[in-house]
Symmetry: C2
Subunit: 187 residues, 2 copies
């Protein structure tokens, strides 16, 4: 399986539907890395153009990969080895292409249903099973900017929990989506 995950901090929306670069949530880096390790993804990109935020992400990684954290908890070290801090989505695509020799299929996620571009979890599993290189994108703050959704080859169906409420954190949404795409449950 050749699955990569990107957590996009720019361009995303704020609650007023304005385009912003969001701040990094350190816990997200840990949660995504641990999820990625559990589900066997090949790399995780923290995408932000802000240099202070890149430095913050790098500092977190240093602590857990070669600093005190590496001795304190080696499971974190193992997971954080998946992380690359990257200034843009284009750069993340370029890195995947260099590594795999193929341009990845971009699959975006969104809490709202995208009329013409929505694909099912089953369809996305077929891409992965057939050996396609996939870069799966998650948006921070109020979600991925329309420019990113337009650039994506597909947008995954939103998560339906059986209620009208769909305001999950990006960490928990990513957990559910990775399990639906890769997990082996008895469902």
């Amino acid at each position: 399986m050749r699955l990569y995950v990107g957590l996009v901090h720019f361009p995303v929306y704020n609650k007023h539907n304005e385009t912003i670069a969001s701040a990094i949530t350190p816990m997200d880096i840990h949660d995504f890395a641990r999820l990625g390790k559990t589900y066997g993804i090949k790399g995780f990109f923290v995408i932000t153009p802000l240099e202070d935020q890149q430095a913050l992400a790098s500092r977190i990684m240093r602590h857990w990969i070669s600093g005190y954290g590496a001795q304190y908890n080696h499971h974190r070290k193992e997971a954080l080895g998946l992380v690359s801090v990257t200034p843009s989505l284009d750069m993340a695509v370029k890195k995947v292409k260099e590594r795999e020799g193929l341009t990845p299929t971009l699959i975006a996620t969104d809490a709202a249903k995208q009329k013409d571009r929505a694909i099912s979890y089953e369809a996305a599993r077929v891409f992965l099973a057939s050996g396609d290189v996939v870069l799966l994108l998650f948006g921070t703050a109020w979600g991925l900017h329309e420019d990113v959704l337009q650039k994506a080859d597909h947008v995954l169906e939103p998560i339906l929990g059986g209620s009208a409420y769909n305001h999950l954190s990006v960490r928990t949404a990513a957990a559910i989506i990775l399990d639906r795409l890769v997990g082996k449950s008895d469902c």
Copy 2:
């Protein structure tokens, strides 16, 4: 569906396998409440005997339910309405019993497979579908104490992601488990 969720802060293990009461992670309260609202659970218990931690949880809830947070983000208000801060598992069971008129079936979660007591996600879905009252328990820190596992009627199968790594955060594990038990995916 009569599903309740409990996040246990005592008794749990630390990394040295000692029994501790863990500190509350404020983000967990938000993430669990938003998950609970998405998947239509009836209540979420933050279980801690420590009074300062109970006060912290109550302060978070006040901010989002009646303080500034309620105006800032009404989706959080809606989700945090599910939360009860409770000093013990026994008290959480008592509250569920008072509300439902039935003692809940206790289903614990654990990252390690429990030989004789493990049940599948499919079996747990059958309990829920048949109208059983279920209290699903998650452990913070290094996981639920053996006393809690012994007290539980069942222990869910661990999450398998297809790799040998199983060190998810409790937030993301809860997301995956709720989706497996309640979510309607196309899998």
